[in-house]
Symmetry: D2
Subunit: 140 residues, 4 copies
């Protein structure tokens, strides 16, 4: 099946590193957002537009991270973001963070998001815009 | 003249400390917000209410910080927040951060805020709610 | 079996809230650290002392979070931190975040840490200090 | 006199924006660090090397920021970092942040750093490595 995967890079800031001279574990979720934004830009899914045009918020309901090797100050990380296709009314992304040359997996994780309208009502069916987007990308 | 000053405490988090094992310099602005919130709670100035009731935003236009001695992980800091009275249509706060027992000044700073309506129009005169608040606190 | 559980509170800062006016999802890991620090203070496990006295680092190898309801600016959160006893050479903590009055579960999660010496060698057996601490707390 | 100025760009993250949908004011100091790092890479001043080779820390003793216009989520900012030459034993940097096309000044600020040896003794004279670096760049 078709996999929509984006690869982008980021640099570790001094302020993101803790007293053990490695990235503080919560900051990797910022790099996940870099990955998701770059993925959205590549595959035409704009989360602000989804809100403004379709009136849908996409809150995160769960995340998990597995830490293998730390990143350090000033290092360049490479993040691969993959959209996981599902029949459920969810947006699931898988993330893998590597060193700049993609020789060592540093960390992997996943985020699960759902769709809510502006009255905070959970959408039980996949929203129309997402169905259409999936058809366009040959995912259904 | 009357000085409205609040004193509150905070604890330094692990995630707020950098690789030199001291608070990263930008994080002190979070403690300033702790001070300003505690000051507002003590003297009856609720920034959310000002927005919802009076339609005014209070953006920060400048800040400065002078660092004397660093705070470390798990230390308790004491912050003194003082409202600086001015005829200008501004809200000026002065901050001093000490160790828990107030024996050593660690850092001092200031923030200057202005008043803008919801159309981002700068208010050139002190807003009515602030004039009334000042009268109540014998500042005019 | 005996459960070692700590309860502590925290306040949501303005800087921790995102443009949807709820805590940015990565910031909950800061509250987890508040919980773990308060737990350590209550039950006599000082992570800095473990490093300085026993030469052991306790890196996080995985974490997961399940988001139910968001916290907002200036809200007080209550966090319950529970040490999960295990025969493995790991430190596992479970976290539950509630509103101030503990009427609604907002979020739950878990962190898993391992023990490494200063040469980054993973400890395959539970360190002696932890065995002794467990005996003292009637966990073995 | 010769001015050593670097220009680099950054993107605003979702997690850096506050509930007013603009960058939280303390986060601009992270962009200042992006600017200082890029400046150091361009002009051969590596702050880690200064510590490891010359045993000198370069703590920040003051900073100030003047906010003109805010940056928003996903915007690209352009930051100009200028080294301000001084006879004092200090490292002074001036920062200007613009929109991507450099048509509007969003913010400016300054940081002042001093030199301390590993025993936290303040260096009253400009360190030798810095004098030599200045000569190389025709600043003395």
């Amino acid at each position: 099946m078709k996999q929509l995967r984006n690869t982008t890079k980021f640099r570790v800031r001094f302020s993101e590193v803790d007293s053990l001279r490695i990235v503080w574990h919560g900051n990797y979720l910022k790099y996940f957002e870099d990955g998701r934004d770059a993925w959205g830009a590549e595959f035409g899914m704009d989360f602000i537009e989804i809100y403004e045009k379709h009136g849908l918020l996409i809150p995160l309901i769960s995340t998990n991270l597995e830490y293998k090797y730390p990143l350090k100050y000033n290092e360049i990380g490479l993040i691969e973001t993959t959209f996981i296709n599902t029949r459920a009314a969810k947006a699931i992304f898988r993330f893998e963070i590597y060193d700049e040359n993609r020789t060592q997996l540093k960390l992997k994780g996943e985020t699960v998001q759902v769709f809510m309208d502006v009255n905070n009502v959970l959408q039980l069916n996949t929203p129309t815009f997402l169905e259409e987007w999936k058809q366009k990308h040959e995912m259904v």
